[in-house]
Amino acid sequence: MKLIYEKSSPGRPGVQMTSIKISESEEIPSRYLRSAPPELPEVSEAEVVRHFTALSRLNYSIDTHFYPLGSCTMKYNPKACEAAANLPELTEVHPLWPQLWGGGMLTQGSLAILYRTERMLSEITGLDEFTLQPMAGAHGELTGVMLMAAYHDDQGNDQKDHIIVPDSAHGTNPASAMLAGYDVVTIPSDEKGMMDFDFFREALNEKTAGVMLTCPNTLGVFNTRIREICDAVHAVDGLMYYDGANFNAIMGRYKPGEIGFDICHLNLHKSFATPHGGGGPGAGPVGVVEKLRPYLPISRVKRRTEGTYVLHYDEPKSIGYIAPFYGNFGILVRAYAYMVSLGKEGLLGTSNRAVLNANYLRERLRLLFGVEKAERCMHEFVFSGDFLKKHGVHVLDVAKGLIDRGFHPPTIYFPLNVSEAVMIEPTETEDLDTLDRFVDVMKEIFELAESDPNALHEAPITTPVGRLDEVKAAKDMRLSCE
């Protein structure tokens, strides 16, 4: 498809922006002015609408396709939550208005949403306090690790120098730990895919600042020794970090804070149904136990005794500002709308159904993947596509074959500790017919791998472009229109 710039022609009018001229401003001396205007497209409004509508139709999305993308929790994004977030009384508020009058009295509605969202997330996770400021999961992780560092500093403990991370962790875990100045100690997984307990015990010592874990882990397995791990880490004054990427499995079932986790980030764009947006914006709120409360980022929203809300900035031990304001407010409203819709029963019902869908799909697919043993998983599961190699087929080919058959592929080649990994997470918002159809299509693809592997190597053929040359992209580095 042509680029918008290639559709441009001099003088074509776009949207008329103003009509009333109120005065002529004084000329600004030329040394402050650019020599030529920026070369933006000159395209009619109707053509712009057609261009972006046509672009949208080149995408797969939840609104158009099943997305069994492991570890990403691609559930349906309710339209009502969108409608709530688009209320003009919320979208038209300037973030500095709380500072103009009465300590937040101009923005009581928005502050109420922030406060109630914090309280509900605290209750759901069993943690004492939440900050809503982190703007994505990885941003939440970095905030969490900064909180760890602030805590140890404040304790006067300067020997903490590393964070323990299992090898099945998301790549952002070690990246966040490094940024906050800690070394990363990686622990291998045992045969069940859990952090190897003996290796962990050996690595744990007085210098351990903390441990970052998902539970259930990236293989969809619940670590039954989690309590032991928490106790051991606390014994050396380390902090337990809960990566909430997989929270959808356990919402309402268990609370990380009650088990012994001290810090937790949640991906609202996963468990709390806010849209992924083709890569953001997300939101990654962070919860902490009481002893970490003083270090939370500024500002803090508080409830006054008469029931109004106010922002506090005077927090001397705070790590400071990690976002300009209060986080991705528009995303937080969607998550709030989702939580109040669900309520306590809906929360448990949601994780029940997410886990049921995953187990059903796992059971129906396991023999296709040559997995003899029937086992329970949580909200997602991982199979290896190694058996396809004998046909010269890789899971990448399976992924592309799925695209041709109307499904977004599962996550592949992650986690890194499983060869030819295929990671599937159906979520609770898919019905039985969709799950069955997916099984049928997987079966068809595996049969094709045996009978005509080339057909899979050539996939996808139904998309606007076939497999793209990524090496060429990196070599040529054409990153903008000339």
């Binding site: 920026p38 995303i331 054409r478």
Partner: protein, 454 residues
């Protein structure tokens, strides 16, 4: 009513699924979680129907003041958003898509990102841009960190004219990431103090940060001071306001190495602080150190043009602890809104929006200078925002104006203690002549009234 909204299976479906699994109930699925770890209860309210939820949200939202005429900017502006921006960016094919790791199924997202990157290069006068970062503040921080990585130095030097909210964020990150942070006080004329910069740069300074127009709205041509930065073998990072780039000199032409900014004004609502749009551009030679997602053009086997996420070897999902940054997301929908906005207003419309902002600010300047007791804070070189000096605390004046329905600017003393009488005022194409006149009248009577009391 269903107690689990948005879930797709019926009880009959669930019975079939239970049978397939050989289980009796949901509880059997969670046998792996030991009893003693399970939550006793979750104390949140009962669920609501869609209608009840919307009524509840409307009721809560109505507690916000929404009648105010807004002259408060300070880096975040109340611009008009053409209807087509909402209509197009609300297409589910865009906003319910995942990150485009499967490029054949994501060409819409990828091409839009490529078009966005192009627009950012053209606005800033730079060679490469990424697909966006969280907001203008985090983009500036990433710019500073990138400059330190490139120069292998550890000190960030920041002009005091950089938005104080961003400077607060910079202090947080540099403190927690063990980077040395230093500021250069604002020059007397409201712009970067050349002599002070020369004196403050040392052989550990790797990143020097400016903003243009700066927090006070003052325009500058930073070329000479950026030359000095290069003389000291450091990199210059300039934060900009994109609407101003319709007319004012590009940071690229001033010699900046990295350009960042808040893209909220390009078709995003104020939304109480987010989601916003951090844009990020740089010199081509720095591209391999650039943080965030980058989209590049390539071809498929049949020679058809297509777009992919490229240079991914920099990123955390491959590099893990050796990544250039831990940021793994962009704000694609926000970047999409920006490219739709820029396409809709187009080359001429963008100039017009910029011109109307300048005209309104200029009109207001003359109107306000007629008021007894109001004085310019700095010089007259501004785009759409400027600071005035009042005879008393701007904070109290602003709160008196609020009671008259006007968000009459931002009191600078909130962030600059010694500037308690300074009021920062922003003007966009949305403000009418009548509103500006009304504001001037109210400001005048507010100032007079107190003088009478005194």
């Amino acid at each position: 009513m269903s107690k689990t909204p948005f879930c797709a299976t019926s009880e009959q479906d669930q019975e079939i699924m239970f049978k397939t699994l050989g289980i009796e109930s949901f509880d059997d699925l969670f046998a792996a979680i030991p009893d003693h770890l399970r939550a006793d209860s979750v104390n949140i309210p009962d669920g609501m129907s869609e209608m009840e939820m919307m009524q509840h949200l409307r009721r809560v939202a109505s507690k916000n003041a929404s009648h105010l005429v807004n002259f408060c900017g300070a880096g975040f502006y109340d611009h008009y958003i053409p209807a087509a921006v909402n209509a197009l960016s609300s297409r589910g094919e865009f906003y319910t898509a995942y990150t485009p790791y499967q490029p054949e199924a994501s060409q819409g997202t990828l091409q839009a990102a490529f078009e966005y990157q192009t627009a950012i290069c053209r606005l800033t006068g730079m060679e490469v841009a990424n697909a966006s970062l969280f907001d203008g503040g985090s983009a500036l921080i990433e710019g500073a960190m990138m400059a330190l990585r490139h120069t292998r130095r550890n000190r960030v030097l920041v002009d005091e004219g950089v938005n104080p909210i961003y400077r607060e964020m910079l202090r947080t990150y540099t403190h927690n990431l063990s980077v040395e942070y230093a500021e250069v006080p604002l020059g007397k004329n409201g712009i970067a103090d050349r002599e002070a910069f020369k004196a403050a740069m040392d052989d550990q300074t790797g990143a020097v940060l400016f903003q243009n127009p700066n927090f006070f709205g003052c325009l500058d041509n930073l070329k000479d001071v950026i030359d000095e930065v290069h003389e000291a073998s450091a990199l210059a990072v300039v934060s900009v306001y994109p609407i101003a780039l319709s007319h004012i000199e590009t940071p690229g032409a001033m010699g900046a190495d990295i350009v960042t900014g808040e893209g909220q004004s390009l078709g995003l609502p104020l939304n109480f602080g987010g989601p916003y749009l951090g844009f990020f551009a740089a010199r081509k030679k720095l591209v391999r150190k650039m943080p965030g997602r980058i989209v590049g053009e390539t071809e498929d086997g049949k020679g058809r043009r297509g777009y992919v996420l490229t240079l991914q070897a920099r990123e955390q999902h491959i590099r893990r602890e050796k990544a250039t940054s831990n940021v793994c997301s962009n704000v694609q929908v926000c970047a999409l809104r920006a490219i739709i906005y820029l396409s809709l207003v187009g080359r001429e419309g963008f100039l017009e929006v910029g011109r109307e902002c300048m005209d309104r600010a200029s009109y207001a300047w003359h109107r306000l200078m007629e008021i007894d007791g109001v004085k310019p804070a700095f010089n007259r070189r501004f785009f759409n925002e400027f600071a005035i000096r009042l005879p008393r605390s701007a904070k109290t004046v602003v709160s008196e104006l609020i009671e008259q329905g006007v968000a009459g600017g931002f009191p600078v003393g909130r962030y600059y203690e010694e500037m308690d009488n300074l009021l920062l005022l922003a003007f966009t194409e949305k403000r009418t002549k009548e509103e500006i006149d009304l504001f001037a009248t109210k400001l005048e009577s507010t100032l007079n009234r107190v003088e009478e009391i005194v």
